[in-house]
């Protein structure tokens, strides 16, 4: 909480709200993984039907359709919670920041009198607007996607550690590249962020490669292989989106550095 407060210059309430918003985004991302479990079960059932030549049973059809509706409802519920905790708190914090800035301006030494008030006003308004947008649309989803990706990777270890490793090695590499983007020169930061989400695209490929060789050697069942391929096609999407949005944030930070 303290780290968030110092990093993004937030009030106590703002730091707490940002943490809640990050958790809400993580919850939403995890609910988006629920259909993966359902489609895996459905694919397995369809393979059985395909091999046996039977038609789908009525109660199975009802089960899959109703579970699908439950999944949609859970996504709806998580999205409702995520939207409320992300946007409303960002606006409240933005308002607090504007008033705090105004209070700080009153205490400025008189040597600042030569400054153009239109410039200061424009800077304050613009910075507050940018921070408001970044908090709600970039930082909270990024925190959420990091949490949900790590949780998904950890939960996959319990199914098969070899496949889990092949799926999740891209995550630390991607985080490291994204982190480095803030430590290098402004113009290079774009390339680092681009590399961070390009690496994620290798996740499904490495899962396919590892799974293919394990299946050929009969040390992995087809079911587990299918599960990991389906999971890998979905699990990186929130993180890839967040990292693409991070490009805008790195641009903003570089701009602030220039102004300082």
């Amino acid at each position: 909480m303290k780290w968030l407060k110092n990093k993004f210059n937030l009030s106590d309430r703002g730091a707490f709200d940002l943490a809640v918003a990050g958790l809400a985004c993580a919850l939403q991302n995890l609910t988006l993984m629920l259909p993966v479990g359902l489609i895996y079960s459905f694919v397995m059932y369809m393979i059985l039907l395909c091999r046996s030549g039977h038609n789908i049973l009525n109660h199975s059809a009802v089960f899959y359709l109703s579970t699908g509706f439950v999944c949609a409802f859970l996504i709806l519920f998580a999205s409702w919670f995520q939207y409320g905790s992300t946007f409303f708190s960002a606006y409240r914090e933005s308002s607090v920041r504007r008033l705090t800035l105004a209070e700080s301006l009153r205490k400025f030494p008189s040597s600042y009198k030569h400054m153009n008030n239109a410039d200061i006003t424009a800077s304050i308004m613009n910075d507050c607007a940018v921070l408001e947008k970044n908090l709600s649309q970039i930082i909270a989803p990024l925190i959420g996607s990091v949490i949900s990706s790590v949780l998904t990777a950890i939960s996959l270890i319990f199914i098969d550690w070899r496949m889990s490793l092949s799926v999740s090695w891209v995550l630390p590499v991607s985080f490291a590249l994204a982190g480095l983007a803030f430590r290098v020169q402004h113009r290079l930061s774009y390339l680092f962020i681009a590399s961070s989400y390009l690496v994620l695209r290798l996740g499904i490929i490495s899962a396919a490669l590892t799974g293919a060789f394990l299946c050929v050697n009969d040390s992995l069942s087809a079911n587990i292989f299918i599960l990991f391929i389906i999971a890998a096609s979905v699990m990186y999407n929130p993180l890839e989106n967040s990292l693409q949005n991070l490009a805008a944030l790195s641009q903003f930070k570089a701009l602030k550095l220039k102004e300082e």
Partner: protein
């Protein structure tokens, strides 16, 4: 956009080349899915197992080629973007950093990204249509549903009224901030009356109240849109249930697997293309500002 690219001088072709490379990278990135699909087919039906390692390596090869092409595209776009930004700075030194940075970011990052997202979603949809048109339609149906939801809720008098209210609240807050800062700078904080601070506080609170009420108004459509674009897999289950009532053929099962691994990606890429439209609009606005400054300079 041509006007903006003209600032690149002889490096202008690099911008076009970066878009071309991004498109090529997106098309190349579809091949790994084709090979993964083949691996899945072999694994599910235990046939041609000897081909699996070959498919796996080919998927790796195409993925690496795709990434290398994309990086080459990024290098081209960055070279052009830095040249454009430097030339604009040289011509108009008074332009704010933010404006030039947004243009630089657009040319370097957003332009190749949007071409990648566009070609990728189009290519994946074509691959699906080639295998089974019914599954292809179902895979893009959530996106269409999402657009319909947004189009239905984002048009009409309410939206225009909301935008007008936003501008009013924002301009009121800007005015009060300006007034507040002016008083501090011209006559010092000691001469500031409680009224000017109260007016400023009220303006900030009004803007917050407006923002929260607008966010509440947009909550239901946005959530419905989120659920719609993320429900490709649920749509596939519904269609799978419908079709499997008359039996599941091996051919359909294979195509279904392709739809399962590509449908979520199509949604993500199309959504990305739409989100990038915001940056297009910003870049056009920046270009208009630059042109206005240049025209004024020529007038003098």
């Amino acid at each position: 956009m041509n006007g903006l690219l003209n600032f690149a001088g002889k490096y202008k072709f690099l911008s076009y080349f970066s878009c071309l490379l991004s498109g090529l990278s997106a098309v190349t990135a579809i091949f790994p899915f084709w090979y993964i699909w083949n691996i899945l087919s072999c694994v599910i039906f235990s046939e041609n197992k000897e081909l699996i390692p070959g498919y796996a390596w080919q998927s790796v090869m195409y993925a690496v080629i795709s990434i290398l092409i994309y990086i080459a595209g990024l290098l081209c776009s960055h070279t052009a973007a830095f040249r454009i930004a430097d030339n604009i700075r040289r011509k108009i030194s008074s332009l704010p950093h933010e404006l030039i940075d947004s243009i630089e970011s657009y040319i370097a990052h957003i332009m190749p990204d949007s071409y990648y997202a566009l070609f990728s979603s189009f290519g994946l949809a074509c691959l699906l249509f080639r295998s089974d048109w019914r599954l292809a339609l179902v895979s893009i149906a959530p996106m269409i549903l999402g657009f319909v939801i947004m189009a239905m809720t984002a048009r009409g008098g309410n939206m225009t009224k909301s935008i007008a209210e936003h501008h009013k609240a924002l301009s009121m807050m800007s005015k009060e901030t300006n007034e507040y800062v002016k008083v501090i700078i011209t006559s010092g904080s000691s001469t500031q009356s409680t009224f000017s601070f109260r007016r400023f506080t009220n303006a900030v609170r009004n803007y917050e109240a407006w923002s929260v009420s607008y966010a509440k108004e947009r909550r239901v459509p946005m959530i419905c849109y989120t659920v719609a674009v993320n429900s490709a897999i649920l749509f596939l289950i519904a269609v799978g249930v419908g079709i499997s009532r008359s039996g599941v053929s091996q051919e359909f099962m294979k195509n279904f697997m392709l739809a399962v691994i590509t449908a979520p990606l199509i949604s993500v890429r199309i959504t990305r293309t739409l989100r990038l439209r915001e940056y297009h609009i910003k870049a056009y606005a920046s270009l208009r500002q630059i042109n206005a400054v240049l025209n004024r300079k020529e007038g003098y």
